[in-house]
Amino acid sequence: MTSVLIVDDELFIVELYRDILQLRGYKIVGTAFDGEEAVRKYSATPEKPDVIIMDHRMPVMNGVQATREIIRMNPKQKVIFVSADVMVEKEARDAGAVDFLPKPFRMDDLIDKMHKVSEQ
């Protein structure tokens, strides 16, 4: 079962991803509401998630910075970047994100990307 860490500052978005991903058979191992919380939780967890779903515009630390920190700790970590800010795609990929989805996206598109990324 593919394990997922969800990072987004909007509770309703976190709940939505959780509801859908759990229905599709994914295991949600954690949630974080800003980049710093994501980095903290990631470094404290011995069993790393297979995939991280990362938002960009969040308080304290944004998604690009958080991705950079996480990839520094584990260069093999798979991060799928999801954001309403399409202009941030290049920065996200440069930080180490393996894929990018502009919001709003269809959940099937996210599942497709999760599938591809977890098989890599």
Binding site: E10, F12, I13, L16, Y17, D19, I20, L23, R57, A84, D85, V86, M87, K103, P104, F105, R106, M107, D108
Partner: protein, 241 residues
């Protein structure tokens, strides 16, 4: 001093526009996601499924409108020379996929020209938005269930500068008279309710002009009864700004 205050005010409005657009997109994401959950349920009847599918396509429209607002806010402060080149063929292929998804209850076919590997025009993401808005606006002018759109490209030169001309033809579209040769200011001053109906076309015209090109709306077959519609966008080739 007054110019500085006005610039500050504009900047403040731009921040708010950005924040509000971001919020709308997040909410669109939630609505879209939950509609998809409803559609995935095995117990919903045919009618409910159809309603949910229609709602999904409207979410996409709403998102495009927000993207247009964001794109205008970004592009208005830039000159064409500050915009990155973008591949028109890739934009056409992306827009085709998008428009088919936006109208799930209609059969939409888009013919895309085979051409060189890359057709570079000035415009960054704005050129892609422009092509998508052309397709969507044309579908809206066509009330038939099966819509066939044809995109063509050709090179033109005007005043020593090279352009790519993109035409979009639909023989069954019905073009509103007001859409011809009308600027957004004229249409808005005359009747803003009419301007609202042709906002996609007006957006295409304004964006093409901001990218250093132009946009025209014509009848496809002026002499026949079913006149159809033709959009002509002219975009500066990369390196010509």
């Amino acid at each position: 001093m007054q110019a500085k205050t006005s610039k500050n005010r504009e900047q403040k409005i731009a921040y708010f526009m950005d924040l509000l657009s971001h919020d709308v997109l997040n909410n669109n994401q939630a609505v879209l996601g939950y509609l998809e959950l409803i559609l995935a349920s095995s117990v919903i009847d045919k009618k409910t499924r159809k309603y949910a599918e229609k709602a999904v396509s409207h979410i996409r429209t709403s998102t495009i409108l927000v993207d247009n607002v964001k794109r205008l806010m970004v592009t208005r402060d830039l000159s064409p020379s500050e915009l990155k080149p973008t591949d028109l063929l890739a934009a056409m292929n992306g827009a085709e996929r998008e428009v088919v998804r936006m109208f799930p209850d209609r059969k939409i076919g888009v013919k895309i020209p085979a051409g060189p590997k890359q057709v570079l025009v000035i415009g960054d993401g704005a050129a892609g938005d422009l092509v998508l808005n052309m397709l969507v606006s044309m579908v809206r002018l066509d009330s038939s269930n099966s819509v066939t759109l044809e995109l063509k490209m050709s090179e033109t030169v005007s005043r020593g500068r090279k352009y790519w001309q993109v035409t979009l033809a639909d023989p069954t579209a019905e073009m509103p008279k007001i859409a011809k040769d009308r600027s957004i200011e004229e249409a808005y001053d005359e009747d803003s309710s009419i301007a609202v109906k042709m906002v996609g076309i007006l957006y295409c015209r304004m964006m093409a002009e901001m990218l250093g090109g132009g946009f025209e709306v014509r009848e496809l077959n002026p002499k026949s009864e079913s006149k159809g519609a033709l959009f002509v966008a002219t975009l500066l080739q990369a390196g010509e700004a």
